[in-house]
Symmetry: D5
Subunit: 125 residues, 10 copies
């Protein structure tokens, strides 16, 4: 099941603002109604807090293991997205963050869910 | 014929704002003038009201069945788009919503129709 | 229901061999098990018999109406493909013909079905 | 020659604002200097006035015939674009409209011409 | 674990030869060395035996469930491919069959494995 | 109307065999039934006869003017293709030639017509 | 060498604002350090002054000849871009203009240079 | 190791503002944890200070050699990006600059890091 | 330097013929003349000998480490390709093998080198 | 003018057959009729003779300089292609060679010219 304790972070190396985007193209969980697997892509985009204020960045391998922990979980698209947003916000306390999940679809309908944390700038896609 | 009673919704799981996009790539209805089939794609993009305020999200399978109910309907592009916008607005009362239909074309002209409900943010495509 | 009587043909204008390909990108029928719509593309590729031997080509508008006649038919992918091959072979008696249907998929699996009539040359794709 | 009398309109079905885009991919006219044919794409994007205020939408088949009436006309890119903008503005009196022509090019240079009517919103592409 | 008993077949509807291709874009199994998930695409291409000789085609939903049964299996790329080839050959006894798996890759290397059954024609890709 | 007298040729510069392909992306003629314009692409592929045997290549500007002469002609796809093949075969007497027309389509069906002259090698696409 | 006297302009046909974009995909000049040829694309985007105020548009064929006059010039990317911007601004005195050059690259680095004249609107790409 | 002394600059040729983008598609460094190579693309986008104020542009060949100096360096994505931003800011003192690195990924996750210097305009992508 | 001792193999799991393709998209070595890095893609395609005859397949992680061992080697495109072909042929003694390297290019010329071992079937791309 | 003396070759490193492809994407010469520049791509594909028989490969930088020597030459497409084929055949005496030029086009027609030397295998594209 989704396990936030797998997540690790490292100290942001600089005090000037910068933006990080991680895209995991191979995400899978289970549909809680039918038990069939869902497949999608998870995109995490954030601006870490400055290093001098204890800013943190999620460590890549730990992010991979955390995302793998959804593999056997029956969970809706909306809940996956908000769950990842919440777990990463607790871990990093970033200036802002956007989590977007892009699902390959069921029954001819594909879906995208997007959840923000903090003031995402309007110029961010 | 289009049947809004097929639509079902579930309670939004969180109170923080998030955005949902569903894209149905296989939509068909009939041209009301010639009776020939029209083919297109329907895209629904919305921000549900917060869970604490009774926010709702449309359920995916019910959306699929609702869209299939246009299959034998003679109806113009503009009417399809406004009808879907109205039916989903009644169902979910979202913070805002955008419905876009993208038609493969007749006689060398392809068309896109877009209808909004509520204050769609300027950063939304 | 599929109606081969909608098909019309016109006399091949020349005696030298040539090849014709028609691709209908907007085909829909119904799944005979679930009643849900299937969407796909139908490709017809053939070499008409020489004009001097009574060679015929299918007329485009009649082909369109014939393909539309599958709209309310519950029929498997394989049967659609073989049915179109058979109906067009009876109509045109071409030197050879290949009918290929390309389906958008159900449950994460998309399918292609191909049925030949006569000696399709090995260089034909 | 270009004939605005071919254009027809129908009453906008709703009072809420919506946006319509028509793209004619197969446009041709003649170069007024050389007589050689020009080929391009015409894109019309507009927000009709509300139905309660007598809002109108251009009818698709009439738009097709109108665009075909440029076929034998010797006319510059800029004049084609402004002419279509003017003729459609007179017909529909839309809230706003953008006409864009995209030409395949002559002598290694391809061109795009864009003419607006009324206050096109900054979020429109 | 992979379970061939999930596979079902239906009688080939015709006696004339035709070709079937199924592409499952969402396949996942586990790396037997590291336990990390592998993601790929499975393509099955075959010519069923003629109906009059008891020819069979794999049923689509059963193929989907069969492929899902690899989800928790630690198994190499090569073994996945040969296993699917063998299980489907036993089920259908097709005139010929080609199974191709296309893996998204590990460590910067992506892989494709292809296993044939019977005389696949040289014109088949 | 189509005017083969517009075509000019120049002497092939060498005796060793080589292959020439010309693709005219902007072709238009009229549908003989409806009078509506058809749009397509014309591809001419040939091996000229050796220079020492009086081999000829079609001159590019004359080919352009010849293709423009179809602009006001009501003519079927099949007839356009065979006519171009015949006119160019008379002009150049090439070792072999393939003429392919690719039409943007009417009523949701797009078409490709291919006519050969002489022994087109099997490796030619 | 670059020769602005090759440029010609014609009077803008209307008083309402519109936008013109010309893209020359085949531009070449010489690297002033090595003498090796550089290859790139030149894009000119502008809003002509209104016709009533003597607004002008650059004539297409003259633009082509002007761009060809850089063929034997040893000149840096930045200088090419600013030179074209300056020459066209003198010629047309447009409301605003953007010149963008896109170079295929040397040593694994490709470059884009963009120079503006006047108040280019923020919505222009 | 990364060596900023390899960087050279030349005087900006004009006083009017313009924008420069360099994209190095072939960048490689080493992962500081595993020693395995990382591969990515580096994009540098900036507006040089005006020539009259001593504005400078980075010289292309020196940029190439500077980027090659990371080849044997064990360094995190975030540090590469901030390091390049800092070294180029010291060299050029541009009006503003954006450095973006786009990495091909490890373990199914690809990453983009973006660091700005000075007031990057909101219209810059 | 290139180190074939890094390569490991495992026993082919079956006796029926099958085909394996590995594509390493991130290969780099050095130009032996200039010392500048070369970047390219390495594709290895082979049919292992049957398991019963001691057939072997190269192990993926060892292939990755082997390819990384070219990182500091000054070596021509042709030599890289033939060297990989030879080392893998010694390791696996496959029925046949094709090694293709695809280089991003220097000075505007990109290159592909292909070396075969044994009778590669004509249907192999 | 085209200068074959610029071409250099190096000894083929092995005796086993292999294939080399060089693609120069930035070729320009002049139209001998109008003096306007032509732009295209040159592709050279060959199998060098075995090293033990004195086999040679064209050196990349010399090929680049040779192709640049056509920059000011007024020469037809067909002559460019046959000239390059002849000059390289004299230089390398390869087992076989194919030279293909792909031109961006004039007046809406783009062209491809292909000239072979020796027995190019049928499986070569």
């Amino acid at each position: 099941m989704p396990d936030a304790s797998l997540l690790e972070a490292f100290a942001t190396p600089v005090d000037t603002p910068f933006v990080v985007e991680h895209v995991a193209e191979e995400f899978t969980s289970l549909c809680p109604k039918t038990g069939h697997p869902d497949f999608g892509e998870v995109r995490v985009l954030f601006e870490p807090a400055p290093g001098a204020q204890g800013g943190l960045c999620v460590e890549l391998k730990s992010l991979k293991l955390y995302l793998q922990s959804f593999r056997d979980e029956g969970i809706f698209y909306e809940a996956v997205t908000n769950r990842i947003r919440d777990d990463l916000a607790v871990l990093m306390r970033p200036n802002w963050m956007r989590v977007t999940t892009n699902w390959r679809g069921r029954g001819g309908i594909r879906s995208v869910i997007r959840a923000d944390h903090g003031p995402v700038p309007p110029t961010i896609d």
